[in-house]
């Protein structure tokens, strides 16, 4: 637009060449927006001078002509600044400000909030920015939610280090994981997927609670988490991160980004980490944390040519985990120790082809293609468990705005999955009820309509129909409403929607193999799950002592119709059967945030969680789920942003443990506990150093592995899955970030 205007102005000026500069008469004009409304209070000034003016209530301005320049700048909040070439000051200028700057992110002189809740998106979405990720160690995706009240991350067992995410009190498998809008880290990757995304690779994370858009599929029963990696076209040419922790973890990350030319850019991201020390702080003869080693590499390409955008990404990863019994005394090795070993190789790629047909109407078409290969070979004691998954995904999306009021998005998708699993030893009963070798394909179409009659109201409705090769045809309806009666001061949202999922029972529960529990699979076990999700939220922002106080209230309810229940009420077994009765998860949360003074923000949050499932005809609280959670996080950055201090404390509520049986080896309930993390960062011009500590209260769960001394044998009650608290005590770390800054 800018160029067109410049050229236009140039042509006009040549046409009326000869008109002299009259220093006495002022330059006059009007500033309007796209819709021809006058822009009041726009700032107009001559480039490189301090001669300026402001538009009046009709959008009209008058400015003394400048002898030094012909470039007149026009700026207004929410629009990008425009440069007008004034060759004839006698002409009346008609300036149309275009290029609206998306104002959903708070851009102010003061420190920007690092977790942003979109005020525009009808979906309740929180964006965790790179700045927020830098507030804690964030070695990988699993550790990126330390300062976020909505997402919990816990260890699912004390032996393998598998980390589970929990959103709205439900397991991460009910959350759809996306990387750059592509479904990823699912199926076979779900137990350890959170560790496959190195922290320094991430540009931002979007957490969307409740039912989400139908664009990405029928999954996402409780929400969606999307990860955006660093992009070659916007990232620094070179960044290096080195990290070391008191647990013996060493990590190196590097990414290089090259702009080949104006159209083409490429990025290379590398990661290596190892944690090879033996730690057994609770002296149970088992390693507290698995010994791990990971190689991870990614290459991505970005190409833009006019209205065509192409992106490609390839990621390969190798990870090895070793855990189990070990001898403190090297001269007396344990005879026949219980060992756990997990070796994973994974490859993932995607390509995105997008074409914009009409910029004014935002008419665009995009083809998303991705594929993955995942192979995991593992053994838990004498039980061998191997899984191999191949996935192909295609999604064609078409979007257009008929008018700014009516917007439509429609598309078709195809998903293919191949699973091959192997479970050794006769530990499983009824394994024939599971399909260990299966090929599934799903074809689907969707349509989504957005109605925005005014700035105050947005209505979004979507529906999709899918045909699953095993589970037939099903319909996914979803709806969102957003109402902002007083501008940004109050945003009200409500949503309702349905979600489905095919449970990958063995993979998702493979961590239960780190126990002597028998796995019992009921006859006619149907892995197809479905639930309705209802949500409502209110976000209040109001100025208090010239700063914005933000209060967010949320309520979500997930109601299962079909579910695979993992029943651990028998202390020696885990039974899998289909839900017969009610199963729901209910959450209420309040989050208050206030920047008390320049550079300092304090956020406090509290959440109540009520998750109940029918186990053998009896509605019971879901075990190993916190009944509440409190979070306090403070962040302070000095005036010149040379120092940063972060402190986060979490109150993890009490909860129930699975029935310990008549001869109990563990309690019926677990207590609440408090954790404290802190970090100090010192910034220099091109590098920064950060030092921090995790779990500074040193709280540790005792007895993380039940019957640890007797993992074998007929009467063994060995169980590494009764984990509800920190396995190891305080941990300290130090890291360095260095980068060659990007030049514009």
């Amino acid at each position: 637009m800018k160029h067109i205007k410049l050229i236009f102005a140039l042509i006009i000026s040549t046409l009326i060449n000869g008109a002299a500069l009259y220093a006495s008469s002022p330059v006059k004009g009007v500033v309007k927006d796209k819709d021809n409304n006058p822009v009041i209070g726009a700032n107009v000034w001559w480039l490189g001078t301090n001669v300026g003016a402001t538009t009046n209530t009709d959008g009209v301005f008058e400015i003394k002509p400048s002898e030094n320049t012909e470039k007149l700048l026009v700026s207004y909040i929410g629009f990008s600044t425009d440069t007008i070439l004034v060759t004839n000051p006698a002409n009346y200028l008609d300036v149309v400000l275009g290029g609206e700057v998306a104002l959903n992110e708070v851009v102010v002189s003061e420190r920007k909030l690092s977790t942003l809740t979109s005020r525009i998106d009808p979906l309740q979405t929180q964006k965790i920015t790179y700045d927020e990720l830098c507030r804690a160690a964030c070695c990988n995706l699993a550790e990126s939610f330390e300062t976020n009240p909505s997402v919990d991350v816990s260890y699912s067992d004390a032996a393998t280090g598998a980390r589970q995410i929990r959103l709205l009190g439900l397991a991460g498998t009910y959350v759809q994981m996306l990387t750059e809008q592509f479904p990823n880290l699912q199926g076979a990757a779900s137990p350890f997927g959170l560790s496959y995304v190195p922290g320094p690779w991430m540009e931002s994370i979007q957490v969307s609670k409740g039912t989400s858009s139908v664009k990405n599929g029928y999954e996402a029963l409780t929400g969606q988490i999307n990860i955006e990696y660093k992009k070659p076209q916007t990232s620094d040419p070179l960044s290096i991160n080195l990290f070391g922790a008191s647990t013996g973890r060493l990590e190196g990350n590097a990414d290089a980004n090259i702009k080949v030319n104006d159209k083409l850019a490429t990025g290379l991201l590398l990661h290596y980490s190892r944690e090879k020390e033996d730690h057994d702080s609770n002296d149970d003869g088992f390693l507290d944390m698995p010994k791990t080693e990971q190689f991870n590499g990614m290459n991505r390409w970005y190409y833009i040519n006019g209205d065509y955008i192409f992106q490609a990404l390839a990621n390969v990863m190798h990870e090895k985990r070793e855990s189990g019994q070990f001898s403190h005394d090297k001269s007396h090795p344990i005879v026949d120790p219980y060992k756990i070993g997990i070796e994973t190789n994974r490859g993932f790629f995607f390509t995105k082809n997008g074409y914009i047909f009409n910029r004014e109407k935002n008419t665009s078409m995009a083809l998303l293609l991705s594929g993955s290969y995942h192979n995991q070979d593992s053994h838990f004691g004498r039980t061998i468990y191997d899984v191999n998954q191949k996935n192909i995904y295609a999604n064609l999306i078409f979007e257009t705005e008929f008018t700014p009021v009516h917007k439509i998005s429609t598309g078709a998708s195809f998903v293919y999955d191949h699973y091959k699993e192997k479970l050794g030893e006769a530990k499983a009963v009824g394994i024939e009820n599971l399909k260990l070798l299966r090929n599934e394909s799903v074809v689907g179409v969707y349509g989504q309509y957005t109605f925005t009659p005014s700035d105050k109201f947005t209505f979004l409705a979507g529906v999709r129909g899918d045909v699953h090769s095993e589970h037939g045809f099903f319909v996914t309806p979803r709806m969102h409403v957003k109402y902002s009666p007083f501008g940004d001061y109050l945003n009200l949202r409500a949503s309702v929607g349905k979600g489905y999922r095919v449970a990958n029972i063995l993979v998702e529960n493979s961590y239960l193999l780190a126990s002597s529990r028998k796995m019992i699979f009921e006859k006619d076990l149907d892995p197809f799950e479905s639930a309705w999700n209802y949500g409502a939220s209110a976000h209040v922002t109001f100025p208090l002592f010239s700063r914005d106080l933000s209060i967010m209230l949320e309520w979500y309810y997930t109601d299962f119709q079909k579910q695979v229940v993992a029943d651990m009420e028998d202390p020696q077994a885990v039974r899998f059967y289909n839900l017969d009765g009610r199963s729901y998860a209910q959450n209420a949360q309040i989050e208050v945030s206030y920047p008390f003074f320049r550079g300092f923000t304090l956020t406090g949050a509290f959440r109540w969680t009520d998750v109940k499932t029918t186990y053998d005809g009896e509605l019971k609280q879901k075990p190993l789920t916190n009944e509440y959670k409190g979070l306090l996080t403070a962040s302070y950055q000095t005036k010149l942003k040379k120092w940063q201090f972060d402190v986060t404390s979490q109150l993890n509520g009490k909860g129930r443990l699975p029935n310990p049986g008549p001869d109990p080896l563990w309690e019926e309930n677990f207590p609440s506990f408090v954790t404290l993390n802190a970090q100090v960062t010192k910034y220099f011009r091109t590098w920064s150093i950060y030092v921090g500590g995790e779990n500074l209260t040193g709280y540790k769960q005792k007895n993380t592995i039940i019957d640890a001394g007797n993992p074998w044998g007929e009467d063994s009650r060995f169980d590494g899955t009764m984990v509800w608290g920190p396995v190891h005590g305080a941990k300290f770390y130090v890291g360095v970030r260095w980068s060659i800054p990007k030049k514009d």
């Binding site: 009041i40 209070g41 700032n43 000034w45 480039l47 490189g48 001078t49 301090n50 300026g52 402001t54 700048l73 700026s75 909040i77 990008s80 600044t81 440069t83 700057v101 992110e105 708070v106 851009v107 102010v108 002189s109 003061e110 916007t234 940004d488 109001f542 100025p543 010239s546 700063r547 914005d548 008390f596 003074f597 320049r598 550079g599 300092f600 304090l602 409190g630 306090l632 403070a634 302070y636 005036k639 010149l640 942003k641 040379k642 402190v647 404390s649 109150l651 207590p671 609440s672 506990f673 408090v674 404290l676 220099f684 011009r685 209260t697 800054p741 990007k742 514009d744």
Partner: protein, 126 residues
């Protein structure tokens, strides 16, 4: 119960933190220290990445003690020690970042501010 207490203590610490530091901060902000000057520069700031670029570099210029970068008014307010630097040195530093900086007055900056009712920072004096 013990845990509630721990959390209570931590909460109390957080609160005292929020009460003590602003008093200190307000103190340092009000008193314009001797030998220091504040200049408002106007330049074209199109996007957040421009802001980031300025924030990453200008604080490391000699003598700079405070800086506020504002995309709305297209201004950068720099406080510096007059013995260590001056406006033209800073204009040269902005030039290195590809920015043509112009010194403006508080009134010129406020001309825009008065029409801005989004409720953000209003730390300027009237």
């Amino acid at each position: 119960m013990k845990m509630r207490k721990t959390f209570g203590i931590i909460a109390a610490l957080f609160m005292s933190f929020t009460l003590v530091i602003p008093a200190m901060a307000a103190d340092t902000e009000k008193k314009e220290k001797k030998g220091q000057a504040t200049t408002i520069f106007r330049m074209e700031i199109d996007c957040q990445s421009c802001v980031n670029n300025i924030e990453k570099n200008i604080p490391w210029e000699k003598g700079v003690t405070d800086m506020k970068c504002d995309i709305k008014t297209q201004t950068v307010e720099v406080t510096y020690k007059t013995s260590r630097t001056n406006d033209s040195t800073l204009i040269a530093a902005f030039k290195k970042l590809g920015k043509d900086a112009v010194v403006i007055t508080e009134e010129q900056k406020n001309e825009v501010k008065e029409h801005d009712c989004s409720g953000h920072d209003h730390s300027h004096s009237h």
